[in-house]
């Protein structure tokens, strides 16, 4: 898949055409909403206390709508005027600012109870102008973000890292700015559903939350499973019950919708069917 950040800078890539997709394409909307809901969950705010949240790269305000549903007030910043115009047309409750995250968050110290960002951070890793230096811009962003969060607040940033180095670069700059935390990976066994969340904490080093479906460490191959399935003679490999159950388990780990196991799983149909 081509990466949009390789095509053009964000303020040019997200033009009227691209912005329109974010109100019409139900698939984009659904994914954005799911990711926001998960980010909100990782933010660990208490449900009954309404908070003030900063949304970095708020775009057309899809993520903001999820925050509103959960009773929070939000302020969004984005660099694309076309996207912000769409947000204004949708009459979102949050307040919008046209700003570049690489130039820093222009807020007073301790202003926000939390910050989220959905699919925006990867844009910072690119130098779109001759005077852009990704490392400096990342540091400026994280250090000003740290300043504008209240103590014990968290920031959860979902992003699409291009490779391992990029992930390391981003995390290193966040740590340098004073944050604790790291990357939480949801559905590590799936290519499509895999999502990276940079969870940053301001107060004290608390263990990172677990990614969804990551009870088994994904480092290395589990050798004990090797040669577990021995096909019986005369029967095809894939009709064996254990193989079917195994396959269902794998699909479940990828976060896919799989029917639950029952006594009929992997059983032959009767001849009457």
């Amino acid at each position: 898949m081509s990466r949009p950040e390789h095509l053009a800078p964000p303020e040019i890539f997200y033009n009227e055409n691209e912005a329109k997709k974010y109100t019409q394409n139900t698939r984009i909307m659904e994914i954005q909403e799911q990711m926001t809901a998960r980010a909100l969950e990782l933010l660990l705010l208490s449900d009954d206390i309404p908070s003030l949240i900063l949304d970095i790269g708020c775009g057309s305000g899809l993520s903001g709508s999820v925050l509103e549903e959960n009773g929070h007030q939000w302020v969004g910043i984005d660099i694309s005027t076309a996207m912000l115009d769409v947000a204004q047309d949708r009459e979102v409750e949050g307040d919008l600012l046209l700003a570049d995250m690489g130039q820093g968050c222009p807020f007073r110290a301790g202003a926000f109870d939390g910050a989220i960002s959905i699919s925006a951070l990867q844009w910072l890793c690119n130098a779109d102008k001759s005077h852009h230096k990704p490392v400096k811009r990342l540091y400026k962003f994280f250090s000003t973000l740290y300043a504008c969060l209240s103590r014990s607040a968290r920031a959860v940033l979902q992003f699409y890292p291009e490779n391992g180095e990029q992930m390391e670069l981003v995390t290193a700059q966040a740590m340098k700015a004073g944050f604790y935390g790291g990357i939480v990976v949801d559905y590590p066994n799936s290519t499509k559903a895999k999502k990276f969340f940079l969870v940053l904490m301001t107060g004290g080093n608390v263990p990172l939350p677990k990614g969804l479906d990551s009870e088994r460490s994904s480092e290395g191959i589990d050798y004990s499973r090797r040669g577990k399935i021995k096909p019986q003679r005369g029967q095809s490999l894939k009709s064996v019950k254990s193989w079917i159950q195994d396959k269902k388990e794998r699909r479940r780990k990828q976060g896919k919708n799989v029917r639950p196991d029952s006594k009929y799983t992997g059983r032959k149909r009767s001849g009457r069917f």
């Binding site: 046209l98 130039q103 222009p106 007073r108 202003a111 000003t144």
Partner: protein, 124 residues
């Protein structure tokens, strides 16, 4: 732009500006919107708000409407006060105008309710 955001906004991202707060407002179009009143949220926000800055901003826009100059004691249970604070923080919106940095005099235009905080290359 709501005055809650104005209360949080600074221009300290400009090179050479240390505090950059509060930004002064020159508004040409101010509207009053209708926003649902949430007393819990407002009373949680009051300690974070720089009240004199909010009062001056409201005064400048001409929407004081007997907002007290100082926050009263026991504001959590004072619903009348919370309603006034809610009106000032969330319902008064600046649609067109500009924000001015108190130190450098740099102007940030507000168009269609969205302040443009983008800086030029030589200002970072």
């Amino acid at each position: 732009m709501k005055l809650l955001t104005h209360n949080m906004l600074t221009s300290k991202c400009i090179r050479g500006v240390n505090v950059g707060y509060p930004l002064s407002i020159n508004a040409s179009d101010v509207r009053v919107a209708d926003v649902d009143f949430n007393p819990d949220f407002i009373s949680r926000m009051i300690p974070k708000i720089d009240w004199p800055v909010l009062y001056n901003a409201v005064e400048r826009l001409g929407h004081v409407e007997d907002l007290p100059k100082e926050t009263p004691v026991n504001y959590e249970s004072n619903e009348d006060f919370l309603k006034k604070a809610h009106h000032a923080l969330l319902e008064v919106e600046i649609i067109h105008g500009e924000l001015v940095c108190p130190e450098s005099g740099r102007k940030f235009p507000i168009n269609n309710g969205i302040p443009n905080m983008l800086l030029n290359e030589d200002e970072i």
